[in-house]
């Protein structure tokens, strides 16, 4: 058990020379660095993020501009070719990555924020609150997420903001159930009882005592949620529900899919980009899981 806020732990650990002080975060980080797949995933994601953040400064072509003849194959004129309108695929990848990764990140934050709030209240208080919140969660869980997201985007307009919020709103039930399960397990353990006996209020108990101890699986779930959100955005765009004014990887695939026989490069490159990004995030998730799950942790 990695209890960060265990009151019994001495505040100043450096007074104990026999056991050098190592914060649990550091332990986890060290553990993470021992997982080759996790490190590889992190490296790939870092490259992708740096490319999309700094790439536009070095590759100044606007992804929505028509720069060459439609379906120019990859070559000197356009390194990765052009799409059905003559827009540069490489520019699309660089600029589109920014939108795609942002959608992934923000949607995952929304997912976790809603999921953890509902899950923790539900698991901590139990009783009527739990029953009500579980019903709400179940209601959202039985709605087919893609259809539900399509309805939301159709109702509120095809903009990137709507798409992001829609993905967050349809994805949170898993995080809520996970959080609730952790809270149910933790809330009656001794250190929680001890804090309560020491006079801690509900807010303090939820945020400072139970939640930090429930975090490991939530962090893993949040990481995975980014990957899921990226795929989700791709799915919505594929169905024609992306934001036509913001280039994203999903939009590139969605708009070019009718022309895959005319120019394979229009779909293959953004497809590969999504694949690599989701794979990297998935590897990172595995690495974090290995690092912070004590049952999997290797000794030594």
């Amino acid at each position: 058990m990695t209890s960060i806020d265990t009151p019994a732990l001495p505040r100043d650990a450096s007074t104990l020379p026999s056991r050098p002080a190592i914060s649990p975060t550091l332990v986890a980080l060290r553990q993470f660095c021992r997982s080759p797949s996790g490190v590889a995933g992190a490296a790939v994601l870092l490259i992708l993020v740096l490319t999309t953040v700094f790439g536009p400064h070095f590759y100044g072509i606007d992804p929505l501009d028509l720069v060459d003849a439609p379906f120019t194959p990859p070559g000197e004129d356009a390194w990765l070719g052009t799409d059905y309108l003559g827009r540069d695929i490489l520019a699309g990848l660089i600029h589109g990555g920014r939108a795609t990764l942002t959608v992934g990140g923000v949607a995952a934050i929304i997912t976790i924020a809603i999921g953890v709030t509902i899950g923790s209240l539900s698991g901590f208080f139990g009783g009527v609150i739990d029953t009500a919140l579980v019903k709400i969660t179940e209601f959202f869980q039985i709605l087919p997420p893609l259809l539900f997201a399509m309805v939301l985007v159709t109702l509120f307009g095809q903009t990137l903001t709507t798409v992001t919020i829609a993905i967050g709103v349809v994805s949170w039930p898993t995080a809520a159930r996970l959080t609730r399960a952790e809270f149910l397990r933790l809330r009656n353990l001794d250190f929680v009882k001890a804090s309560r006996a020491a006079g801690a209020g509900n807010g303090h108990l939820i945020l400072r005592v139970v939640l930090p101890n429930a975090l490991p699986p939530i962090i893993v779930s949040a990481t995975m949620a980014i990957g899921v959100a990226i795929l989700f955005e791709g799915g919505l765009s594929f169905l024609g529900l992306g934001d036509p004014n913001t280039m994203s990887w999903g939009l590139m695939i969605g708009q070019n899919r009718n022309y895959v026989l005319d120019g394979w490069w229009t779909v293959i490159f953004p497809g590969a980009a999504i694949f690599v990004a989701v794979l990297a995030i998935s590897l990172i998730g595995d690495g974090i899981n290995d690092a912070i799950n004590p049952r999997l942790r290797k000794r030594g």
């Binding site: 095809q158 024609g240 004014n245």
Partner: protein
């Protein structure tokens, strides 16, 4: 017997096994009607157009017109050169003052139920169409129809109405049996609309909603030796790829109204297939960019002209449409005898466009932009609509106009925005329907600015001279003077630019090789297919 086939292994005892068996049987049965049906006298047409019903007297549009023109005959039909031909009317005569048209009907025409076609039916049909058809201008000039004898109908007009001749085409004037539709029920929702009785070359014998309908030869059709086919089956296929594959395999013998460039290119490469662009002059489909002329800054003609000058029509046609479409340069579709190609004035000229915007009082700001506008498009036809909207976003940025593409998730969303005037620019496709009075006037008449109605004058364009010209041309009986009036009209509209005309929709009709008597008239597949036959019967 090998153990695999022993009754123990293959007896369907469990519910799951029964289900599997049932499913297999169901699949093989449903597959049966998809099998090639190209017997000698049968043609199978694949179409994505699902008709609501079969009565073209009260319903416009291609989906109904294709079957309606097979089931119902009309007073006239047309050839490839816009010349009227006798059909139910063996002759027709326009009075000297142009205010009455006398039709002499053939005497041997009967409806599918055996009752004769008389002038009573013609009179009833004309008044029914006038009252119920969405094209209100088409027969608005008709006052009444006299029936001096069973085979003479005299159409009395309030004023001369030259468009009447085209309005008597099969797609626009199906002659309904009065003894069925005259029973007092609302014709728009009449039960006979789904079980139609006409006097055309084919009878509707089966309709499986959303799947197929079957038209069989009418033995007592009034033209001897016609129709040449025994049967036409129209299969409703929603997926374009499935349609193409069906044609390639010979399961389907004709695909009407294909407009996707990639599909056309694929079809042209198929060895056993003939692709024709003939048969659409009558519909006259124009793909255009419309402006909201009442909304700032588009209320300034210079801004609209600037956008037209910044648009490279040649690029759109040659690059985005693979050269398959023809340029449209005026409100009257290319192919119409009234089209005036000389009025075109917008060749790509970015400098001129910039100057017009400067003059209109929209100078470039520090960031290089002058204004921000939105563009809508009809969803579902990416090549003709969305792609041009996206092209314009990139193109108009060059003259400082930031265009935001507004996607609509479905047709009603788009129609709602445009018909309630909640738009700046929109891509649109509108049909001419033969005569300008039928399909062109509605877009430009001040009196047709009708909020809430799509394909009315949603641009809210208003020019008194245009109203005058259209009114005069609508009543002008001299073909020459009429053409001159429409020429002036086209010139003014192009210059006023409530709409920037881009191209004629690249429709194609596609047929299996071996078919003869193809429908290449101005109405194409929306006219009787009584001449269609197998010159070289397909191998079955």
């Amino acid at each position: 017997m090998s153990p695999i086939w022993s009754s123990r292994t293959w007896s369907f005892r469990t519910p799951v096994q029964k289900c599997v068996l049932g499913l297999a049987v169901a699949l093989s049965v449903s597959g049966a009607h998809l099998a090639p049906a190209s017997a000698d006298g049968t043609v199978v047409i694949g179409s994505s157009q699902v008709p609501r019903h079969f009565n073209g007297a009260v319903q416009s549009g291609v989906a109904t017109a294709v079957p309606s023109t097979q089931i119902f005959a009309s007073p006239l039909r047309y050839d490839e050169n816009w010349k009227p031909q006798p059909y139910l009317a063996e002759s027709w005569e326009i009075s000297a003052d142009g205010k009455s048209v006398t039709l002499k009907l053939v005497k041997n025409a009967v409806f599918h139920d055996g009752k004769p076609v008389t002038s009573e039916d013609v009179a009833f049909s004309i008044m029914t169409i006038k009252a119920n058809h969405p094209f209100q201008t088409m027969l608005a000039a008709v006052d009444k129809v006299d029936t001096p004898d069973p085979y003479t109908a005299v159409i009395q007009l309030k004023h001369p109405h030259p468009a009447l001749l085209l309005a008597m085409s099969p797609a626009l004037m199906p002659i309904l049996p009065k003894h069925i539709y005259g029973d007092g029920q609302d014709v728009k929702s009449h039960p006979a609309n789904l079980k139609p009785i006409g006097s055309g070359p084919f009878r509707l014998t089966e309709y499986k909603q959303g799947e197929f309908y079957t038209l069989e030869k009418f033995d007592k059709f009034f033209i001897p030796g016609r129709p040449k086919l025994d049967k036409i089956v129209v299969k409703l296929i929603s997926d374009p790829n499935a349609m193409l594959v069906s044609l390639e395999r010979g399961d389907v013998n004709a695909l009407p109204l294909i407009s996707a460039v990639r599909d056309i290119e694929r079809l042209e490469k198929m060895p056993n297939v003939l692709v024709t662009e003939k048969g659409f002059a009558g519909i006259g489909p124009i793909n255009w960019l419309a402006f909201n002329t009442k909304k700032k800054p588009l209320d300034d003609v210079r801004v609209r002209q600037a956008i037209a000058f910044a648009t490279n029509r040649d690029f759109i046609i040659s690059k985005l449409m693979g050269g398959k479409a023809a340029a449209a340069t005026s409100p009257i579709a290319p192919g119409s005898p009234l089209d005036e190609p000389g009025v075109e004035m917008y060749k790509l000229d970015l400098a001129k466009s910039q100057k017009l915007l400067d003059d209109a009082g929209y100078p470039k700001k520090a960031d290089g932009s002058r204004m921000a506008l939105t563009i809508d498009y009809i969803p579902g036809n990416d090549e003709q609509q969305r792609n041009i909207a996206e092209y314009l976003r990139s193109q108009l940025k060059k003259v400082g106009i930031n265009l935001d593409v507004r996607a609509a998730s479905d047709f009603p969303t788009w129609a709602q925005r445009v018909s309630s005037f909640d738009f700046d620019l929109t891509m649109d496709t509108v049909f001419n329907w033969g005569d300008p009075v039928i399909g062109v006037d509605r877009t430009y008449l001040t009196s047709n600015i009708r909020k809430g109605i799509i394909w009315s004058n949603t641009q809210q364009y208003s020019n008194p001279r245009v109203d005058e010209l259209l009114a005069a041309a609508g009543q002008e009986t001299s073909a020459e003077k009429r053409k001159a009036l429409y020429s002036e009209f086209q010139k003014i509209v192009v210059s006023d630019a409530p709409i920037h005309f881009i191209n004629s929709t690249p429709y194609r009709n596609v047929f299996s090789k071996g078919l003869g008597g193809l429908p290449t008239t101005i109405w194409g597949i929306m006219s009787p297919l009584d001449e269609l036959y197998w010159a070289t019967p397909p191998r079955t």
